[in-house]
């Protein structure tokens, strides 16, 4: 009997992941269907379902979606895009570097999809003004978004899932992954310069034309609601600040409010929802309109994945895989190597969100016999940077390549794969080396 349910759980898992890769059926629907099957046949009972669905991840995503969608209405992102383009002063290399840095920083604190969705049209416009092939700028933007997103707890969905499940703090991500991502960004920019630098030369006339066209853009005109703009910037700054102190907020509050328990901490999801509530209250935006913009399909996609992976946990599949790993892995360093590279390569194929959902319970199970703390960082590193490997490895890739195709710019799967795999191997190798030095030496 146990074998039958295990087989069903595995079959549902593989079938759902195949549907997610192929996407002929909406990923949210595929995940919900898979979840429905394992619930219907009793593999995941109601009580277990509530345990497997990671509400920390879902509420954090909801909070950040509310903040981002409210801020979007002010023209904040368009303002950032125009300012960045103007700062480049007509130099293609500076456009590439500045957009990559801005994309990485914004992606580190807000979601990657919104970041690239709002910066890509501006990048395409700048490339058109410069009369240059936009592909180098677009692929650099993708890599920068994935690298920047990997630096913080809130930057990329895999990190949100890992932090919520493992109870890691915002500052731990900054400490362990921040320096790696700074080094990886520098390496990425160097690589992009070596690969594309030659094709980015423009004549002085073209440069002057670009400066004149871009100077004609008024970033202030992009701000559609000055009051909302100011409030959005203030609330985003407050939320980021709160993330930095979320695990020791009690200590800080206790100084001014003695009744607050100094041991109290806030979960990242609480921080995001507090920020969302403040922005909605302060900005007086219509909650109906903002809630309509919440990406409900993405949330149901996450929910479905948690249940499908929960079925593997309930049937003992995950613990069996963990047992095999424990038997064959001799040291923490070896486990870090396997987790990092497996996550990186599998992320490039499957998409890093479902991959992370499946890996999290496995690492929890490994915790029975080894210190898994370094493995969380290995997973975060591999899953986030593995997304750079293929055109479907991460959502940011799909968004940028999808926009490019709609604008008549073809980035083929193979073209992306050639550069993406190179970036994947170099950045993951550097990141793994730095983690190795920290945890395995």
């Amino acid at each position: 009997m146990m074998e039958a349910v295990a087989l069903i759980a595995v079959a549902v898992f593989l079938f759902t992941y195949a549907l997610i890769i192929d996407e002929r059926i909406h990923r949210a629907v595929a995940a919900m269907l898979g979840a429905a099957i394992v619930v219907f046949v009793g593999i995941v009972p109601w009580e277990a379902l509530l345990e497997h669905v990671d509400f920390g991840t879902i509420f954090l995503l909801i909070g950040m979606m509310i903040i981002v969608n409210t801020a979007r209405g002010s023209g904040l992102f368009e303002y950032i895009a125009i300012r960045t383009a103007k700062l480049a002063g007509g130099s293609p290399i500076r456009v590439l570097v500045l957009f990559a840095i801005v994309t990485a920083i914004v992606s580190a604190f807000l979601d990657n999809v919104t970041t690239v969705l709002l910066l890509t049209p501006m990048l395409l416009y700048v490339a058109r003004v410069m009369n240059l092939n936009p592909i180098p700028f677009l692929v650099t933007e993708i890599f920068a978004s994935n690298i920047g997103g990997a630096a913080t707890l809130i930057g990329d969905p895999p990190n949100i899932m890992i932090a919520s499940s493992a109870g890691l703090t915002f500052n731990e991500f900054i400490i362990h992954l921040g320096p790696i991502m700074i080094v990886d960004m520098a390496i990425l920019l160097l690589m992009m310069y070596v690969i594309y630098g030659r094709s980015m030369r423009v004549s002085p006339d073209e440069r002057q034309e670009m400066v004149r066209t871009l100077n004609g853009l008024d970033e202030r005109a992009a701000i559609t609601d000055r009051s909302l703009f100011n409030k959005s910037v203030a609330v985003i700054a407050f939320v980021v600040l709160l993330f930095f102190v979320h695990d020791r907020i009690g200590e800080i509050l206790h100084v001014v409010l003695p009744f607050v328990d100094p041991a109290m901490g806030l979960e990242p999801a609480q921080v995001a929802l507090i920020g969302a509530a403040i922005l909605l209250f302060w900005s007086r935006q219509s909650p109906e309109e903002i809630f309509e913009k919440i990406e409900w399909p993405a949330l149901f996609f996450f929910g479905g994945l948690f249940v499908i992976v929960g079925a593997l946990v309930e049937t003992g599949i995950i613990s069996s895989i963990a047992a095999v790993m424990i038997e064959n892995v001799g040291s923490t360093g070896e486990a870090m190597f396997i987790v990092t590279w497996f996550a990186a390569i599998a992320s490039a194929i499957v998409d890093n969100i479902p991959l992370t959902a499946a890996m999290i319970p496995l690492i929890h199970d490994l915790g029975a016999t080894m210190d898994v703390y370094p493995l969380w960082w290995s997973l975060a590193l591999g899953a986030c940077l593995g997304g750079n490997g293929t055109a479907i490895g991460a959502s940011a890739n799909v968004v940028v390549i999808g926009i490019a195709e709609r604008e008549g710019i073809g980035i083929t799967f193979i073209d992306f794969l050639k550069v993406g795999m190179l970036v994947l191997f170099v950045t993951v190798a550097v990141g793994f080396g730095m983690l190795w030095l920290k945890f395995a030496m």
């Binding site: 990923r27 969705l117 501006m122 416009y125 853009l217 799909v398 999808g402 195709e405 073809g410 083929t412």
Partner: protein
């Protein structure tokens, strides 16, 4: 469309939904389209002058300098005014008026041409008696653009309104018109 391309489009649709359309709509309010980005080919620009146009502003010269064009300056004396004067005054007085007007027109044309040439324009000048509206519309057909002073054919009013003749010319010409 190959498999990978349709795969990307399917994933794009599922991840982004309708958000991209609203982003494009927001951007379209301040980014130029491909068509708008093309600078139209302008080889000749007609600049009508008269008694009320004393100069071409620096801002207008800045805009005109975006085109590598020859400027045709045309000083037009209103034929109806000359006719009325001929009816009201004797022949000698009318001739004296016409001579003084021509003298003023010539000096204005020379001064304006010299100023434009300082900015690197090549110029042509022309002076005639005619209709300030109809003749400009007729001449504009042989030019790629017409640049009109807001005071042209108006008077010495001090407010910033645009002369009715200028507005009428703008309604009738097929070439792009610049009002300075």
């Amino acid at each position: 469309m190959g498999y990978s391309s349709s795969l990307i489009q399917r994933k794009f649709k599922d991840i982004v939904g309708r958000r991209y359309d609203s982003v494009l709509k927001d951007y379209s309010e301040f980014l130029l389209t491909d068509e708008e980005m093309l600078v139209p080919e302008v080889r000749t620009i007609l600049v009508p002058l008269d008694l009320f146009v004393h100069d071409i502003t620096d801002e207008a010269i800045d805009v005109l300098s975006a085109y590598d064009a020859t400027i045709s300056l045309a000083y037009i004396t209103d034929a109806e005014v000359i006719e009325l004067l001929e009816q009201a005054l004797d022949r000698e007085s009318t001739e004296e008026f016409r001579t003084k007007k021509e003298e003023y027109g010539r000096k204005l044309l020379e001064r304006t041409a010299a100023r434009l040439e300082e900015h690197g324009f090549s110029t042509q000048t022309r002076m005639f008696v005619g209709h300030k509206g109809d003749d400009v519309v007729r001449m504009a057909k042989n030019h790629d653009m017409v640049a009109l002073c807001r005071r042209y054919a108006d008077g010495e009013s001090t407010d910033a309104s645009v002369s009715p003749i200028v507005l009428r010319i703008c309604q009738r010409v097929e070439t792009p018109a610049l009002i300075y």
